[in-house]
């Protein structure tokens, strides 16, 4: 029997923009066990609800993560609106959907670039991030912020997108989609990419489901769960079917994200076509008194904001369960059997966002 050794992976590693630590138990170069640990950037953001009024906490929620920032704010606002029985105007719902899908686009393109970098495919990395820049430009044009948008608030949104700008975005979607399809074609059909990803980090449908995995990690194993199907924001009007792959390997998780890029472009196009005129927000009176588990589909999967108010301006509790935390058990199961050189690619395949996870 080969001698077992433990190799620390992280918290600082070239493929990890954020710190997570894995103790890899190896037999020669083969991974046989994994022990994860987190906590290097734990910020105690949940506890800040006791010091910020519930309307101000939107800004904190948006800063939980620098990639899916808008969707954290959306999830929080939807939870408070449910507790306070606030009906958001339809135009606000559509604009929330457009910004959510822009966020998903730039997150997936960011990930595709990082994944290509992890595989050693440098010009694919640069091309992915080049396309991501055009999405960030749209976010900056329409909200004023590339990373933190600050447009979501309890009761609606703070900022409109004029018809001229919406038309401009619509016109830009066709050439942008073609560029994304050209990029996706490399990820989906290039023999080198396939050779590197297929059969690697496999997790079965049953395992992914019972381990509580989320997002593309879950859908890449054949489980059709996507919270957008519940119809929050404007998804109920637009209609949506989850993107699913069945192989459960790194290639399948990559394919789900590539196809979700196309789906996001389609959703933005249909949201622009169907956006109604009307007010952007409603006035919110009083304070939340009650509780709700608010759920939204982020790029990495389902995020849960548990919110509890006691009728005062400060919430009694906010508990945020992020998709990366839910995907850690799946990662622990998918790494054994991989070679040490493949560990970075497998880790990246769950699209880890540690800033979210730590809160």
């Amino acid at each position: 029997m080969p001698k077992r050794i433990v190799v620390p992976f992280g918290p600082q590693h070239p493929v990890l923009p954020e710190p997570i630590h894995l103790d890899l138990v190896l037999e020669d170069e083969l991974v046989v066990d994994v022990v994860p640990s987190i906590g290097y950037i734990h910020r105690g953001l949940e506890q800040l609800v006791q010091k910020r009024e519930f309307t101000e906490y939107v800004y904190v929620a948006e800063r939980i993560c620098g990639i899916c920032s808008f969707m954290h704010a959306l999830c929080y606002c939807q939870g408070i609106e449910h507790i306070m029985k606030v009906e958001v105007p339809d135009r606000a719902k559509y604009l929330r959907t457009i910004w959510s899908e822009c966020s998903r686009l730039h997150s997936h393109l960011l990930w595709l670039g990082l994944f290509a970098d992890g595989m050693g495919f440098e010009n694919l990395f640069m091309r992915s991030w080049q396309l991501r820049e055009s999405v960030l430009d749209v976010l900056e044009d329409t909200t004023g912020g590339r990373v933190i948008q600050g447009t979501c608030k309890v009761g609606g949104i703070r900022r409109d997108i004029g018809q001229e700008k919406l038309d401009e975005m619509h016109r830009a979607l066709d050439p942008f989609e073609q560029q994304c399809r050209d990029l996706g074609d490399v990820f989906l059909n290039d023999e080198t990419v396939k050779y590197r990803l297929q059969g690697l980090g496999v997790i079965s449908k049953d395992e992914a489901y019972t381990l509580g995995a989320a997002g593309p990690t879950l859908r890449g194993s054949g489980v059709a769960v996507d919270l957008r199907e519940t119809g929050y924001a404007a998804y109920g009007d637009l209609g949506f079917k989850p993107i699913v792959e069945t192989a459960g390997d790194c290639y399948a998780r990559c394919a789900v994200r590539v196809k979700e890029v196309y789906a996001s472009i389609d959703l933005i196009r249909r949201a622009i076509d169907g956006i109604p005129e009307g007010p952007l927000d409603v006035k919110v009176k009083g304070a939340p008194d009650g509780e709700y588990f608010s759920r939204v589909e982020q790029p990495r999967g389902e995020v849960v904001h548990y919110l509890r108010g006691d009728g005062t301006k400060h919430l009694a509790r906010a508990r945020i369960r992020t998709p990366t935390l839910a995907n850690i058990p799946a990662l622990v199961k998918m790494l054994p059997g991989a070679q040490l050189a493949d560990v970075p690619v497998v880790v990246l395949s769950i699209d880890p966002c540690i800033s979210c996870t730590e809160r």
Binding site: G212, A213, Y232, R295, R321
Partner: protein, 126 residues
């Protein structure tokens, strides 16, 4: 309303927890999260499950000295939430499949991020 999913919350006794979780597992529910809330002198622990977007929540209320049985024998991935609950709130959870003994979340500060309540706790951060 903004959201249209159904959510139910059911209180569960400490001795019935594992059995109830087992029934949900057999019924095809997936574990969404386990979260803890300090309600002043005791703790409320929410075990959340989902099946076809039907959100079910089991609510356990325990005193500060109560030991909570792990559900990681049923849902293997529960260890992340149970270790988090232990590290952030000091809830003793027995029988976790991967028990980090207080080192899952590596915080430099003992308080409020780790166990300070129980002198005999095995937690290495304490």
């Amino acid at each position: 309303m903004t959201m249209n999913e159904e959510q139910t919350t059911t209180s569960v006794a400490l001795e019935d927890l594992v059995g109830e979780v087992g029934r949900l597992h057999d019924g095809g529910y997936r574990l969404v999260q386990i979260g803890c809330t300090d309600i002043g002198g005791s703790y409320e622990i929410n075990y959340s499950f989902d099946k076809d977007y039907q959100f079910k929540n089991l609510r356990l209320t325990v005193g500060p000295e109560a030991e909570v049985p792990s559900i990681s024998g049923i849902y293997w991935g529960a260890f992340v939430y149970e270790n988090e609950m232990h590290d952030l709130f000091g809830i003793p959870v027995t029988g976790i499949n991967i028990d980090f003994q207080g080192t899952f979340i590596k915080t430099a500060e003992k308080y409020p991020f780790s166990v300070t309540r129980r002198g005999g706790d095995r937690c290495r951060n304490a």
